[in-house]
């Protein structure tokens, strides 16, 4: 899965579905290209999600019942919009909580001076 053409793509790989779900939680309904542009804008170009990474992730989330889709005709073509289902909204809360724990633990590991070892 080629998520990013920048130097640290492996670090983002496991977070793609969480990123997608977070964006959909904030914006309600989005389509694929819109998601890639929002991520690029928010990270100021640092994170660039490719089609090969994004669309399989969206389809997997849809297959798992976490996203529902609407197809509309826009500007001479069909466009597929994604939205979180009720299960998707609950799962988003869980995944964001897990990600926050991960970030906190990584910060603790990377900055041992801020979190000194307990005296045994």
């Amino acid at each position: 899965m080629y998520i990013c053409n920048m130097k640290n793509s492996q670090l983002y790989k496991g977070s793609l579905t969480t990123i997608i779900m977070k964006l959909l939680e904030e914006h309600g309904r989005m389509y694929g290209y819109e998601i890639t542009q929002k991520v690029k804008q928010t990270t100021q170009g640092e994170l660039n999600i490719t089609e090969g990474a994004l669309y399989p992730a969206l389809h997997k989330l849809e297959a798992d019942g976490l996203l529902e889709v609407e197809v509309e005709r826009v500007d001479n073509r069909l466009r597929k919009y994604y939205r979180l289902t009720e299960n998707g909204q609950k799962e988003t809360v869980n995944r964001l909580s897990e990600l926050e724990d991960f970030i906190r633990n990584m910060q603790a590991l990377m900055n041992p001076k801020i979190n000194p070892e307990p005296q045994l």
Binding site: Y2, Y31, G32, Y33, T50, E51, G52, A53, L54, Y55, P56, H59, K60, A63, V69, V71, V74, D75, N76, R77, L78, R79, K80
Partner: protein, 203 residues
């Protein structure tokens, strides 16, 4: 600048010729490429060429991964249909009928009849699928993967599980009859449902 209908069709045809044959996957890729090109200044065909040089591999990778996800969804749809109460009751009725038939005429003769019915259904299914494949311009990923998996799986299963494997037991014969016939019929039902859903959403 908004793309024209002809330019959208150009993108769609290019993706189809590149191997993205499923309608439900291709329209989304077409929209993505079109949106990216609309954000660019300059001449359409130059921008398109540059975009494909940079992104075609990724688009084809997405298509490949779609097909795997589509197969899993197809098998899940089939399993959901097979586990519904009314079809299950029908399967039990088929099993009882097959058992009574095998007990009356013997497993060998019953096996020949089962082969004939089963292979006829499979042949009919394959013919209808091929007709759709060539006559109908729309191919949908989940429906297509279901057909491929079921036709291929049952075809090979029919070679592996032959009547002489039943060892003289009418119950075993009935179980095999239910397995093959029920799977084939429910696959056809699921296929029709999927096609209807796709046509409703996309056409």
């Amino acid at each position: 600048m908004k793309l024209t209908g002809e330019q959208i069709r150009f993108i769609d045809t290019y993706l189809k010729n590149s191997g993205i044959v499923y309608e439900d996957i291709r329209f989304e890729m077409t929209d993505h490429v079109a949106k990216a090109l609309e954000a660019m200044d300059g001449e359409f065909y130059e921008n398109f060429r540059g975009y494909m040089v940079a992104n075609k591999a990724s688009i084809l990778e997405a298509d490949k991964r779609f097909k795997n996800i589509a197969l899993r969804r197809a098998l899940r749809s089939l399993a959901d249909n097979m586990l519904k109460p009314m079809p299950l009751l029908s399967a039990i009725a088929v099993g009882i009928t097959a058992y009574a038939f095998a007990a009356a005429v013997g497993n060998d003769r019953a096996g020949v009849v089962l082969d004939a019915v089963y292979l006829s259904l499979l042949f009919l299914f394959a013919v209808l699928y091929m007709w759709r494949y060539f006559a109908d311009k729309f191919k949908y990923s989940v429906a297509d993967r279901l057909c491929g998996a079921v036709i291929g799986g049952l075809y090979w299963a029919s070679f592996i599980f032959r009547p002489y494997h039943f060892g003289g037991s009418a119950i075993v014969f009935a179980l095999f009859a239910v397995l093959f016939l029920y799977t084939a019929v429910m696959a056809a039902v699921t296929f029709r449902q999927l096609i209807s859903i796709y046509r409703l959403k996309l056409n």
